[in-house]
Amino acid sequence: MFDNISIQLLAGQLLIGLINGSFYAMLSMGLAIIFGLMNVVNFAHGAQYMLGAFVAWLLLNFLGINYWGALVLAPIVVALFGLVTEKLVLKPLQNLDHLYGLLATYSVALIVEGLVRQQYGSTGLPYPSPLPGGVNLGFMFMPWYRLWVVVFSLVTCLGTWLLIEHTRLGSYLRAANERPQMVEAFGINVPRMVTLTYGFGVGLAALSGVMAAPVYQVSPSMGSSVMIVIFAVVVIGGMGSIIGAVLTGYLLGFLEGLTKVFYPEAANMVVFVVMIFALIFRPNGLFAGSEKSR
């Protein structure tokens, strides 16, 4: 069966897999950061990603601000929305069963997605590529913009990881994750840190959204469809494990691409099959780390 698969097709699908994997990695990372500190599964993550793409589209079409401007502005705008959400919705629920946090963010996702769809319809809106053209690698054509997505998401993931693992701020974060009262006793404002972390995670989601706008179309359902995969990624990688989320994100993107080449019918399902096997054989996640993963 391998003979009739051309190298172009394989390379093309692997590139798509790598692009998808980049988004999975960035989104799962944000989800893992939020979960790690707040124990809240941010179901609105997909909707916030979609909002990032929409804000970029609005900035371009109404204010004439181009992609590079949107890359900075849209995450800030959406992160502010995230801060408001945290204050109004998550704060009142923080001492309750964490399932309420999941359900509350789910409602936020429903409302946001519904409002956007009501306003702009369900069909996708096109967003022009800021880096047209590409380079011929001999066996395949590599569009510049896709190369940018791969490199920039790698840099973002690596940067965030370094920030959390190797800076003072990151050590506060990790400490607050383990023993919030103790960290507060040292004079650190943990509630404010929680709020800002949520904002940061939401900003990351919006950043991925802006990056996704030229690749996929900007549509209200783009968030919920990616959200489904992200959930599986986080379960497979081990909840709250940042590095696990990132690696699993890339891995599953690749795997999806490969499946598209060899057995296209199963491409949508492969992620979930992997998840089920991971649950049976590595119940704490492939990259299980903290005690919270149980």
Partner: protein, 308 residues
């Protein structure tokens, strides 16, 4: 005594209802009353939040529909088969997921439900995006004709009443008591010599089977089954119904189902506003009245009683 009077009044109201309200709307409410109760069995009594309950509901709708379409099976056997199939699914899902609790269980069931969705999207017998149409309302027991819409309403009412009675029996059995104990303090139940995982597994199987009966019933009411029945919107809707009515109260989810179906029916013409208002209601319930309509009401009544 008051309970018997209330039950009799409810029964009379349900029997008279199709003369005042459009029967299909009533039957939809009944299917979702059943579906929401099955969800309540899991969340309200076992403390497990299944975020993909539509997989049992929707799959059973397809199974029942397919059996009624392709074989000469009588309607009650078709629905029963849908329920049994869903129960078997519940058992399998439980085997991978039941050792997790809380958020993990929710996320895993959510992802498995999506897997089921994609399987059904591509399975040859479901009709893919178009759905399965023309599901017949075969004769009850092979002899009683159900083609009239009023007759069919009483059939749906009968099945629902039977299942709700079963639900009531389960919840008030020793098994139900152990479930509630697990929900409140799992470690203590384990120390008493019970094995919580087995109880949860059985609860999930029963709940899935009940959701399956609801799905099979719905397939015969609308005479079609679609991917919407398996989608996570339905999984979310049943959560909303249960929370709005009141988790862990016997009647709450039923009230919730009625309110939401009624609301959907009225908001259907306003496009996206149906979903937006569902989100808004869920958010308000979660933040301001987590006991739900029935829970808050009974708390109010209790406070009055003790106040005097």
């Amino acid at each position: 005594m008051t309970r018997i009077v209330l039950l009799a009044a409810l029964a009379a109201a349900m029997i008279a209802a199709p003369f005042f309200v459009y029967p299909v709307l009533l039957m939809t409410v009944l299917c979702f009353v059943l579906f929401a109760s099955s969800f309540n069995l899991l969340l309200g009594y076992a403390g497990l939040l299944c975020f993909g309950h539509a997989m049992f509901f929707g799959t059973a709708a397809y199974v029942t529909g397919w059996l009624l379409k392709t074989t000469g099976l009588s309607i009650e056997l078709g629905i029963l088969a849908g329920g049994l199939f869903a129960a078997a699914m519940g058992l399998v899902v439980g085997l991978v997921s039941v050792r997790r609790s809380g958020i993990q269980f929710a996320m895993i069931t959510f992802a498995i439900a999506q897997f089921v969705y994609f399987v059904l999207l591509q399975a040859p017998f479901t009709g893919g995006e178009d759905g399965m149409q023309g599901i017949p309302r075969s004769a009850l027991f092979g002899v009683i004709d159900l083609s009239g819409s009023l007759v069919f309403y009483y059939f749906v009412l009968g099945v629902t009443a039977l299942m709700i009675w079963l639900f009531w029996r389960i919840v008030h059995s020793p098994f139900g008591e152990v479930l509630k104990a697990i929900r409140d303090n799992e470690a203590r139940v384990e120390s008493l010599g019970f094995r919580p995982e087995r109880f949860k597994l059985l609860a999930l199987t029963l709940s899935a089977g009940m959701a399956g009966v609801a799905g099979g019933l719905k397939a015969t009411v609308f005479q079609f089954a679609t991917l919407t029945d398996v989608s996570w919107n339905i999984s979310g809707e049943v959560i909303l119904m249960t929370l709005l009515g009141g988790i862990g109260t016997l009647t709450g989810p039923m009230v919730g189902a009625g309110v939401i179906i009624w609301l959907n029916d009225h908001l259907a013409q306003f496009g996206e506003w149906a979903l937006i208002s569902q989100g808004a209601i869920l958010l308000l319930v979660i933040i301001f009245f987590r006991r739900g309509l029935v829970g808050e009401l009974s708390a109010l009544l209790r406070r009055r009683k003790t106040g005097r």
